[in-house]
């Protein structure tokens, strides 16, 4: 039998990865309210191959649900760094995009992608469960085509992300 090339191995690995996505159940803001219907019988995301799990070490997806204040960001970065590669980040709601209704708050950070790399954003306040699942579907396509490279960017541009983190966290 011929030996497979590295490219072929990666293609097969990506195809398998996208079929089994485990999401860490770490809820930061009000967006966590949309997850119970998404996970349970009403929308049932498990039929797409996704399920929530408790520890960061065994998860692939970090779903940032809603606003992040400076205090939560410190914990979020800890959780993100505990996760093993490959890992993907989904920014949920307008708060992670531009601060949302908390645009003038002294405590809430405005752009998540300055602190950790984000693969998919969901706009809206609040995004409905359909939007969450559409984002997951989009993420699966990105993984399949090898474009979801957030975790590689974090390693490559670590100095940039750390500098931004240090600026707000001190």
């Amino acid at each position: 039998m011929e030996k497979m090339t590295e490219e072929q191995v990666r293609t097969i690995a990506n195809m398998l990865r996208k079929r089994s996505l485990w999401m860490i159940h770490y809820c930061t803001g009000c967006g966590a309210m949309e997850l119970p219907p998404t996970m349970t019988s009403r929308y049932d995301m498990e039929r797409f191959g996704m399920s929530p799990y408790v520890t960061p070490r065994q998860c692939d997806i970090l779903l940032v649900t809603g606003y992040l204040n400076v205090k939560t960001l410190r914990r979020l970065i800890t959780v993100y760094e505990q996760m093993l590669d490959p890992k993907y980040v989904i920014g949920f709601g307008s708060c992670t995009l531009n601060g949302g209704v908390y645009w003038d708050s002294y405590a809430v950070i405005k752009r998540l992608d300055r602190y950790i790399p984000v693969d998919v954003y969901i706009a809206g306040c609040m995004p409905r469960p359909e939007a969450v699942m559409s984002a997951f579907k989009h993420l699966m396509e990105l993984i399949d085509s090898g474009k979801a490279n957030g975790y590689k960017l974090y390693k490559k541009n670590l100095a940039y992300y750390k500098e931004n983190q240090r600026k707000v966290l001190g």
Partner: protein, 160 residues
């Protein structure tokens, strides 16, 4: 309910306003607030629901209020007092209502009002590495702070 209003009116140096049923405001001086709280606790107001402050910047004063509740009379009593804005120091209420200990830590952090007798007043509570003036004071400019510390996204920009 009128019994309890009459009982409160008998206290020294208080101004009682009945705003509506079950809501009585009691205005006292800063020096007498602890004594008033103690008398109210003896009357049956065993619960301190909320303690917080309001910044009246034009009058140069902070208002500190205590919301008390009596399970016996089903009445809320709100004890209000004013503190000078330039020298905000008060007596602690933690000896009477132990839950005031945590409320006072929050007020110290958010308004900068010091509480004598509360040894944790001034210890960091919610904010991390805060170097500006307390954030709930009216002269704190939140938008200016955001512009200095955070980067906004403009609509044309994409993901970094």
């Amino acid at each position: 309910m009128m019994d309890i209003v009459n009982q409160i009116k008998e206290l020294d140096n208080v101004k009682v306003t009945v705003q509506r049923e079950n809501r009585i405001f009691v205005d006292v001086d800063k020096d007498r607030v602890i004594g008033t709280l103690y008398s109210l606790k003896l009357m049956g107001f065993h619960q301190l629901s909320v303690q917080n402050a309001v910044d009246w910047i034009k009058e140069g004063e902070f208002e500190v209020f205590y919301v008390l509740y009596s399970h016996q009379y089903k009445v809320n009593v709100i004890v209000r007092t004013r503190v000078d804005r330039d020298n905000p120091i008060m007596e602690t209420a933690e000896k009477i209502y132990p839950s005031a200990h945590t409320w006072e830590r929050e007020i110290t952090e958010m308004f900068g009002i010091k509480f004598k007798g509360n040894d944790e007043s001034g210890k960091p509570f919610i904010l991390e590495n805060w170097k500006e003036i307390p954030p709930l004071r009216k002269d704190f400019d939140s938008v200016k702070y955001c512009n200095e510390h955070f980067v906004f996204r403009h609509s044309e920009e994409g993901n970094e």
